[in-house]
């Protein structure tokens, strides 16, 4: 049955997008977890909903609107935080809900029938078009290029910003670049697992990888592989049982996390 499935373009697209999303999640997710930017990423993801709504209202590709909103909101959060000394947490909360509110408003203003937003909120990997795949591929290449290209700088930035400043490295540029890359990854993930479920896919694979290694590069690689495993098997399960793909991937990942953690604890107990 699976082999027959692969003849369909939409199934092929689903698997390619699951694969790309996992690679991006492994790399960016690791940085988000280590730099404590999880709630920040949640904020950016939800803010992008405003752009998706605006896309519908203006009749442009909603994902492009989402991309613009997520980039702008992440840069705004970092700028406002610096200029006003407002707690980043508070700002993230504001952008989080304002983005959602704008999205709902724009969609209600869109003439004609109300579009179904569940594929953006909860993801629908089976509706990923070939155009989406090309878009995702370009964004993934950009992300991998910028992270791999100056990997040692990212490591220093994540570990000790102050020392980076003392060395004369432009930390502000690194921060802005990172926020843009996080926004790009979120846009990649929206179609796969949806705005609401993104955080789980960004955090669970690195959390599992951290159980096995102390090396940042290896954490990224293992997270990507773990991501591929969960998203591909989640996709197969969801097709078999005709259940939502995004939710299946997330629940499978969470289950995997708990299983690995418990197994890890038990193994350690036996050794010592």
């Amino acid at each position: 049955m699976i082999r027959e499935f692969f003849n369909y373009t939409f199934i092929q697209n689903a698997f390619i997008s699951a694969f790309l999303a996992s690679i991006v999640c492994g790399i960016i997710g690791t940085i988000i977890v280590e730099k404590h930017l999880v709630s920040m990423s949640g904020g950016i993801a939800h803010a992008s909903f405003g752009g998706i709504g605006l896309g519908y209202l203006l009749g442009i590709e909603p994902i492009i609107g989402g991309l613009i909103f997520s980039v702008l909101s992440s840069l705004s959060i970092s700028n406002i935080k610096r200029k006003t000394n407002t707690n980043a947490d508070t700002l993230i909360g504001i952008f989080w809900s304002v983005g959602m509110a704008l999205g709902i408003l724009f969609i209600s203003l869109t003439p004609g029938y109300t579009p179904d937003m569940t594929s953006y909120l909860f993801g629908d990997i089976l509706t990923v078009s070939t155009l989406h795949i090309k878009f995702m591929l370009v964004l993934s290449i950009i992300i991998v290029f910028f992270i791999v290209g100056i990997f040692h700088y990212w490591k220093l930035y994540m570990f000790d910003e102050e020392f980076a400043k003392v060395l004369g490295i432009n930390v502000l540029t690194l921060e802005r670049l990172l926020f843009i890359l996080i926004s790009l990854s979120i846009v990649i993930l929206i179609k796969v697992v949806g705005i609401i479920l993104i955080i789980a896919l960004l955090t669970i694979p690195p959390a599992i990888a951290k159980l096995f290694t102390y090396d940042l590069k290896k954490i990224m690689i293992i997270s990507s592989l773990v991501g591929v495993l969960f998203s591909v098997s989640g996709l197969i399960i969801s097709c078999q049982f005709d259940i939502p793909s995004g939710a299946t991937i997330i629940l499978l990942s969470a289950l995997g996390y708990f299983a690995v953690t418990i197994a890890n604890k038990l193994l350690k107990k036996q050794i010592f």
Binding site: E34, L156, F159, D160, E162, F163, K165, V166, K210
Partner: protein
Amino acid sequence: MYDIEIKDLSVYYDSVSALQNVSLNISDKEFLGLIGPNGGGKTTFLKVLIGLLEPTTGTITINADSPIGYVPQFIFFDRKFPISVMDVVLMGKLPNKTKWFQSYSNKDKQCAERVMDQLGILDFKDRQIGQLSGGQLQKVLIARALVTEPKILILDEPTASLDSKTKKEIYEMLKKLNKQKTIIIASHDMGDIFSYIDSAAYINKTLSYYKNDTKSSDEILCKMQGYPYMKSGDKDDKRVF
């Protein structure tokens, strides 16, 4: 010529004054101890020196070709961060102009290993930083500052929350480094530090400078009116301010 010349330096956080009209000249190969109460402005003073904070008024001139070597307090670090000792030390070798797809050269690695060997931490080079003791991690941070080949070394409370044996080790090590480098150290350890430093600056919004001619803490501390003092060897590291 002095290594560092500070003139009428004042720093304000919004309207709160942290440092007022501080002037100080630091000579080549001077070993200067910064002392004073918590919240008195020691850290602010260091941050202005290394350029992390802009002075509100006044000027700082640094006469050195190489960047200042900065050693932060180890207790502020996330010990769970996935990074090895070697990688931390090598950070000092990152060029400030971004080089794409660069990896550390063998020369960089040899330099890092040489410095680690000097500080007695070469055996731990592949360990993750969470597997080190506080004193070992502090030495790793000193090694990272040293690989930048600085002329001036600045340390913020390097011995805070370390046991007295490790404290002594670190001070002895700094004394050796002092033969080639100017060293500025902020410290709570009133008693211990005085046998090593050439001069002391007491910072509490303003700065008073004392030459440590006698190498005895009592005389200088006597000059600093009202400064609470506990002799080294007192229990724990609790100071009452």
